[in-house]
């Protein structure tokens, strides 16, 4: 409950920041939602939920057209946005990949060529193992991995992306050593775990919920400063809020979350930025949005304006450190 009020205050502050500025700018033609993932991906769901809420509540007069530009792990979409500099009718949906991708691949855009509009939710990461594995908690699992370095397989989606960054952080924090196996997506990593082909993964709640419900996998801890929001029980005995934080469970990482972000091209009027920030704010206050957040067990957190910039800067620095250490940064 405390958590809920705290984000509401955050949200209120954000409105105060953005609310004043948006004078009279309004979209004058259909707005294109550029999705930096292929259809069916996490970012795609995010954008389409926003689209469905806007159309249901008629939050905008102009219609929305969604286009998927997920090539190159989303780089295609961001480059498309960069090229559209000055066009206030293209809203791009992503994660922290918007500012992290250019570190690990030679790409024709820089993060400061995009204008951040809002971050709407934080997706959580959990440490999962197979349900019939003999580990009661995160500590005993990590101990087992430490005992036999380079034999336990950690699955994740893609390479040099959030999952591998987190794996690297876990290795640093605990001294355990995994074999990291990159799959095409979190869903695939989830099924590989359920089938017993890998030993653990760091999937988002949404990606493993089905398998958890079915008793195929089980969560050990969540990489969040506080436990997840209370909700209905997922299995007979446990719900999301019963999962300990990883810090409690003995892995000294207090926070690892992935923001769901919205961007405009560079060189757009600040009134347009304010308009969309306000629009996203309205979206995030609807019951449908809360339902989406709850269903996907993300953390509801609306950020815009200065607050968003601060958040991006600190998230960027944190990830950059890992990238540097792993030698992933390309020049």
């Amino acid at each position: 409950m405390l958590k809920k009020t705290s984000w509401m205050i955050t949200a209120a502050v954000a409105v105060a920041f953005s609310g004043a500025a948006y004078a009279d700018w309004k979209p004058t033609k259909p707005v294109e939602f550029v999705v930096t993932s292929s259809p069916g991906g996490g970012t795609d769901n995010f954008a389409r939920v926003v689209q469905s809420i806007i159309s249901k509540h008629k939050l905008m007069e102009q219609p929305v057209v969604v286009t998927n530009k997920g090539g190159g792990s989303g780089a295609e979409g961001f480059i498309y946005t960069k090229v559209a500099a000055g066009d206030s009718h293209k809203l791009t949906f992503g994660t922290n990949n918007a500012y992290l991708l250019p570190y690990v691949a030679k790409l024709a855009y820089k993060p400061d060529e995009l204008t951040p509009v809002a971050a709407m939710a934080l997706d959580e990461f959990l440490l999962w193992v197979k349900a019939d594995a003999p580990y009661k908690d995160a500590k005993s699992y990590i101990d087992a991995v430490k005992a036999k370095p380079d034999t336990f397989k950690m699955g994740g989606s893609q390479s040099k992306d959030t999952d591998q960054t987190l794996t690297s952080l876990i290795q640093d924090a605990t001294g355990a050593k995994f074999i990291y196996v990159p799959f095409q997506g979190g869903g695939a990593a989830g099924v590989q775990l359920a089938g017993g082909h890998i030993d653990s993964n760091t999937n988002n709640p949404n990606e493993n919920a089905g398998q958890w419900k079915a008793g195929a996998v089980t969560p050990l801890c969540v990489f969040s400063p506080t436990r997840l929001q209370e909700g209905p029980k997922v299995t007979a005995t446990m719900g999301w809020s019963d999962i300990p934080t990883c810090k409690e469970a003995g892995i000294p990482i207090d926070q690892f979350q992935m923001p769901r972000t919205v961007w405009l091209p560079g060189g757009v009027p600040s009134e347009a930025v304010a308009f969309y920030a306000d629009l996203m704010k309205k979206v995030s206050e609807t019951p449908e949005w809360k339902e989406y957040i709850e269903r996907t067990s993300q953390t509801n957190r609306f950020l815009a304006g200065e607050e968003l910039k601060t958040f991006i800067a600190s998230d960027d620095a944190k990830n950059r450190k890992v990238f540097e250490q792993e030698g992933w940064i390309v020049r």
Binding site: K29, P30, E32, V65, T67
Partner: protein, 159 residues
Amino acid sequence: MISRFSAEIATATLTAGLGLAAVVGALEFGIGWGDAGPEPGAFPFYIGLLVVAASLVNLVQATVGREGLRSTFLDHEQAKRVASFFIPMVVFVIVARLLGLYVASALYLTFVMWFQGGYRILVSAASGVAAAVAFYFVLEYAFQVPILKGPLEAALGLY
């Protein structure tokens, strides 16, 4: 007139070039067999080599069997027919890039019907415009797929 021999040589050179491009591109990454299996460049590298090698064999085979390849690849008449189809198509793509796909479609259909089909210019133009409008409604309204547009659409206020 183009002989089959020169067509074979040209194609084999082209494929060898593409193979070489893959090899060169792959060299940028590791091509070895690391601790975790093949490195990212290994697969494109060997595939590229294979393409180059096979293209070379094709080149040699064509040269050795030159006598057998005296036959015509494309005679004058055929070349004219291919050109009369191909050149408007290239122009169509260029115009599409400049003026958008709808305008290009209308112009292209009009031109081909009028110039090659022997239809009257009015009939041709009407068909061209009708086709473009039909595509517009199917794509932009029914399916909401935005297509490459140009200055004309912008002037008309269509997005």
